[in-house]
Symmetry: C2
Subunit: 501 residues, 2 copies
């Protein structure tokens, strides 16, 4: 684009040559003229039937091999952080340009933490993708996989931008790491996608925060009936896993401290109900679970044993016919395989995840690996499918990162060159323990490998302190560590943020 270069040239030469006193706003020197502008419109478009997509071609023997990572969650980011970029070029394909520190996401829904304190840009986790000529981050979704040709087909993300058409391209890989995560399970219940909010991404937390504040203000309008006030301020959480319990705890903290002070007119109308079909926190042992239950009830959370049958715009229908009116409905009933994962023609583990062997390889295809919530051990390995936890995903990312580095150093980095290589020790998962807060400076910490083994299992304020300290040190960057600490401090001193922006 010649006009661009010409403009830059004119601008900078003006900047350096004109003397200070000669500068005069009406002088023709001051303003760059646009007379050289190209007037033809050359907007780029792609025909939907155009299968000759542009893309990154296969690497050549002398070049660095290319690792393509699908996803930017715990697994993919840990792998990218650990991969040796002197051996590999890294290409990440994900619909979001950041990683979410999921254990702290519930805290952002009520303003205890800020959204940006729990997100880390991929470009900071692995700086090579912003700088190296062969490494990239693409804000895109994987649409198709061609394992025969070692290719991934992608479509760019253009959300919310009407003027931008999705752009299709393909990427040749030497190694492919599928770390695309899972989807929230709706169990096929009608209305969940339309009316409930999940709690897996930052935009979910943003939606919850906006809706909660809107409902608090809407319920205070003159003439709103008592019944409608109760409905608007009834926060219903479906699913009593760690996410649902932590979110309920955060909500009750928000109500006890901030709603009572900042929305005093309606404080007696707001309530939290947690609906769970079985037991809350089923992965914890009896004693911890009972403590959590007692604690939640004490802080005003209503625990209801029920199964959701139908979700309507303003009420949930339970299996026994009970209607539960709600103003805010949060759905946290666990995860299942995503549409992409279901569509892939690859071996599957029990539960429909991508099946992997002990080295996290997808058998039957060359150079394809899967890690995190989207993968599970194949039945033939004799190992159980691991739970969809951050620590499982991170451990797999770490393992596969060093495995790929080893393979690369041994000369097996390029496509189809690692068939005969010795891979070493397989991936073994050792559970480090579980933690969950229940609000009011209380938490559960279970540092045992499983419910049956011996070890440390704590409840109360000390647990809460361990919970906070552990996460503060786990937060990936120093920047976010500072922000999480500052957020916690200002929440303590000034209360939670209630700007509805």
């Amino acid at each position: 684009m010649a006009w661009f270069r010409r403009l830059i040239h004119v601008s900078s030469s003006i900047g350096s040559s004109i003397k200070y006193r000669n500068l005069n706003p009406s002088s023709p020197f001051l303003f760059t003229s646009f007379s050289h502008f190209s007037t033809e419109s050359t907007l780029q478009t792609q025909s939907p039937n155009d299968f000759q997509y542009p893309g990154l071609r296969p690497t050549k023997p002398g070049e660095k091999p290319r690792v393509v990572v699908l996803g930017s969650g715990w697994a993919g980011c840990r792998l990218m952080k650990d991969i040796d970029t002197s051996i590999y070029d890294v290409v990440c394909v994900s619909p979001r340009n950041h990683m979410v520190f999921t254990p702290l996401l519930a805290s952002t829904c009520v303003g205890t933490l800020e959204f940006r304190s729990v997100t880390e840009p991929i470009g900071r986790i692995q700086p090579a993708i912003s700088r190296d000529p062969g490494s990239f981050f693409f804000l895109a979704n994987c649409k198709e996989l061609d394992t025969n040709n070692h290719e991934v087909h992608c479509e760019s993300v253009t959300d919310g931008e009407n003027n931008l058409k999705p752009w299709n391209f393909k990427i040749s890989y030497d190694k492919l790491v599928i770390a695309a995560g899972a989807e929230a399970s709706t169990f096929g219940i009608n209305g969940v996608n339309e009316h409930a909010i999940f709690l897996r991404e930052v935009h979910h937390a943003q939606e919850i925060r906006r809706k909660l504040l809107l409902n608090l203000m809407s319920s205070d309008m003159p003439g709103i009936s008592e019944e409608e006030k109760c409905r608007l301020l009834h926060c219903v959480v479906i699913g009593g896993g760690p996410t649902g319990v932590e979110f309920s705890g955060e909500l009750s903290d928000f109500i006890i401290k901030d709603v009572h002070e900042r929305y005093a007119h309606v404080k007696d109308y707001i309530h939290v109900t947690l609906i769970e079909a079985n037991e809350i926190l089923s992965s914890f042992d009896d004693r911890l679970r009972q403590y959590a239950t007692k604690q939640l009830i004490k802080t005003g959370v209503r625990l209801v044993c029920g199964i959701v049958k139908d979700v309507q715009p303003h009420k949930v229908i339970l299996n026994d016919g009970t209607e539960v009116p709600y103003g805010l409905l949060v759905w946290s009933t666990g995860v299942g395989p995503s549409t992409l994962i279901r569509s892939l023609q690859l071996p599957k583990s029990p539960g429909g995840r991508i099946g992997v062997d002990e080295w996290l390889r997808v058998p039957s295809v060359q150079d394809v690996f899967a890690i995190g919530d989207c993968c599970g051990f194949l039945e033939s390995t004799g190992k159980p499918v691991l739970p969809a936890l951050a620590q499982v995903a991170e451990r797999q990312g770490k393992y596969l990162g060093s495995l790929l580095n080893k393979v690369g150093k041994a000369g097996g980095g390029h496509a189809n060159t690692a068939r005969e290589l010795e891979l070493g020790a397989p991936f073994v998962y050792k559970h480090l323990g579980s933690m969950a807060t229940v609000g009011s400076y209380k938490a559960l910490v279970d540092l045992r490998e499983s419910k049956e083994t011996k070890g440390l299992a704590l409840t109360g304020f000390v647990s809460w302190f361990i919970w906070r300290s552990a996460y503060l040190t786990r937060v990936i960057s120093w920047r976010n560590r500072i922000y999480v600490a500052v957020n916690w401090a200002t929440t303590l001193v000034f209360g939670r943020d209630i700007n509805r922006i």
Copy 2:
């Protein structure tokens, strides 16, 4: 709603009476039953023809008089902060529940500051609206004014919530303060509202940040043509007032530091063009203006003298026929009267603002005042209409706050009771000076009352330091002062935030 109270009762009695060891998740005591739920749907609706709207009735002689404030900008918030809530009940009607610290809004577009560091909830500026039984904040727009009956007709804001219908209500006032601000001027140019982004509210800054990051990532997709890359990364700013200049400076800082480091693949394609029909920063004197011009050009901002004729989805057409392709278009050409202000049957000042006398009263109607960007002195006062500046608005809010307190103390708080009261000194505006940053740690500071008078006029790093210090002390709350300082520090150390959330 009887079921609600029953549930609370059951929950809390369980919480206190059941012993720890007896807690068992399968016990019927633990989970509250929903069997008492009302199953009739009693969702509240309003007929559009229902003119018997609910609302706040006129105050009675023994009660506190009610001041209704329309708007939550500089003028309205300063007034609410200063009003004596032992004399008055305060009711604020605004479509946003916070005040925006506008001078720092441009910094949030590129991540130098966070959005929440420049916003302050109304409930913190005037805590009475969250607590006092007669004071309220309503998230609503004023639709109509009935000065004969001392009434305001409002409609609630439900943006983005499909399941919530707007709610109509009316409020009787004893004193009405119109502080509803102004609207961005488009000069009737086709396409501005559709394709350009203004820079007046936090959601504008959010949109700019999201779009800028999306364009940076979209331009790095495989196969995007050179021309399309240039277009996507061409940031065009229309209007060379303080907002346009400060935003251009922030953008060039972002490009020089963060794009070069974090988006190295496309760094040579991104450019900023500032289009202005006359002179940039016309309110500053020649020397400062020339400095700003030189500084902007030096940091790579292209200054173009031109008038926009038409705005199309991907290009701006200038008066001379030049086509300027853009990826991001920010419109900051000043403000004019809003639709509400234009629709009100009140006296008008030159320029179409609500006309006020020297005491900021709207003549011809009782108990109505106007402050901030929406008002201007009537021609009959012989005074010029004041510029749409934060300091004008704030000063007017402060003046009117103490005027109303005085009137209230003298027993003139209620409607139609202040006719004969002596109001004291009229409002006089004294300009304290102007400031603007131009990026690269440089700013202009002009501490003179007008261009003609003598006084301090500085440029460069010292000015920039004064600019930052002045705003840091002006930020309303300690919470935000901490956050602005922490944001500036982390930007310096870690760079700007590039999470696209």
